[in-house]
Amino acid sequence: MRNMLSIPRLWICFFAVATMLLLGLGQVVGAAHVGFADVQALASHFADGPQTPQEQIIYDIRLPRTLVGLFVGVHFALAGMIMQIVLRNPLAEPGILGISSGASLAVVISILGADFIWGDVNSRAIAGFPPELVPLFALLGGLVAAILVLWFSWNNGLQPQRTAIAGVILGIFLNALVLAVIVGIGAGRAQMAILWISGSLFSRGYENLQPIIPWTVLGLFATILIARPLSILRFSDDFARNAGLNPSLWRVACAVVAIGLAASAVSVAGPIGFVGLVIPHLARLLVGANIGAQLTVAALAGACFTTGADLLGRAVIAPLEIPVGAITSLVGVPIFILILQRNLWRLK
């Protein structure tokens, strides 16, 4: 009985409930007025589809958007957690390491490039690029960025701070390329640029939700598979060898899982920063050393963080909205600084 009420379990329950609450709140907050009664009504006859305008708003706009936010949060949080373990770097995160920017560049090139070649300049619609392929391109971009960062920061081993600096600079460089591509061949779509680069859930619908679901399923499955190796990789390479693992091989495998999670998230919502930095630290702080509990809490808390930040961004200045990435950065940077300062203090 005592085990049933352990601290990790309590936190898992807490974040699961919080996720459900935020999912519900996400249907109510926004420009148009929708009440909880409408949510309830829609839920009671969900299979029949929406019947009132309010239900239509929930069904067509807010539900898919909140779900995208939720999935993306899980992706970024797990990716950050795995990267921090694999690199043994408390500052690691898809955004800081430049991997999100590599994925964005690949996404922008594939979508706007296809539009540039096959699209109609005068139409507002973006020419068809198969949406299922976008996450694959993003993964490719993320992998290239990861290799570049590791190559630039390699100096007889990896030093956490060096890797972080190389990642941020690569991110600045790749973001400049993204802007150049958008300004260069995405003529007339520059307005999208600032929204895209800061990471936004604006007007994300089922067409964005669909391509990410297989990646979420695959990513969660892979995370469960690598949980045990991850718990061993936290320690020295010798320890891993004694436990019968090939450390280099597993590090690469885990990194690929992390990059896949981050890149697929970027392909639908843009590079939402700092979720992967803040949430794993929070998870470790809350539940201690158990890797399973850490990953579970990180996934749920990540979902809470992005949906919560999106809610805040929609509520503060409705009918306009602040991109979710700007809010996560405003929250995340002070925590990044805190980690930076504390970590150095410990080293000293």
């Binding site: 500052l91 190559w151 630039f152 920061s153 100096n155 701070q161 060096r162 972080a164 600096i165 190389a166 941020v168 600079i169 690569l170 600045i172 460089f173 973001n175 400049a176 390329l177 802007l179 150049a180 300004v183 260069g184 061949i185 003529a187 520059a190 307005q191 640029a193 600032i194 929204l195 800061s198 920063g273 200045i317 306009l320 909205e321 602040i322 991109p323 990435g325 700007a326 809010i327 950065s329 405003l330 940077v333 002070p334 990044f336 600084i337 930076l340 300062q341 150095l344 203090w345 000293k348």
Partner: protein
Amino acid sequence: MPRLLAALIVGAAFGGAGCVTQAISRNPLGDPSLIGVTTGSAFFVVTAYTYFTTALPSLILIGVFGGIFGASITFLLARQTNFSPMHLILAGMAVSLFFSAATVTINIIDSATSNSTFFWLIGNLANRGWVELNSVGLPILLGLSCLLLLRGKLNILMFDDDNVRSRGMNVIGWRLAFGLLAVGLVACCVAIVGPIGFVGLVAPHIVRMALHNTPTPTDHRYILPLSMLAGATILLVTDAIAISGYLGPNLPTGILCALLGGIIFALLFKKGAV
């Protein structure tokens, strides 16, 4: 014509400020945009432009204040490790990221001005007229000449602090004086062309490479004026590429500078500058 002149003096100011930043922080990868000056300044300017005033002189003053604010936070954070270059860069990047996110937020909250600030935020030299140039030209030239007159002192500041004190110089005082001059220069530039980064990083390194085989490769009496020239050249060239339209119409100059600067930074970093 005003665009060319703007590129010239803004480039010189960025180059000079970068050289000074690298000298006073003893950090070979120093750049005003990497210690929070440029983005801090941009954030304050955008906020002021959106809510209070569009008058250029007051925007410049606010920008100077913002730059000093950003740099102070960075240096306060880096003080913990006695300004180790690595920590200084990371703290500066964090401060920059924060101000960028804050700027985006302000920009989107007030969408009426976001169109006019979007291209400015990337760093752009297009449509700079005599009006802009007149109001910042004088302060920038004044700042540049101050730097040129005082450039000898920079050499002494490169020694360790005790050594400098034994020569009868007030270390903190001179660092502050140089720092304020550099921040002021950068803020003036940001107010008219937006946060163009990396020129200040690249220019001094090009000069040092060029001076490599001369008898005085680390003498700031030569490096500083040459950095200004190099900065002006870089901005003129990148701006010419942007105007030429080879890489697409309306390409903001700031993008080109970020691409160039990113490559140079990465190469220096790989070579072990930090």
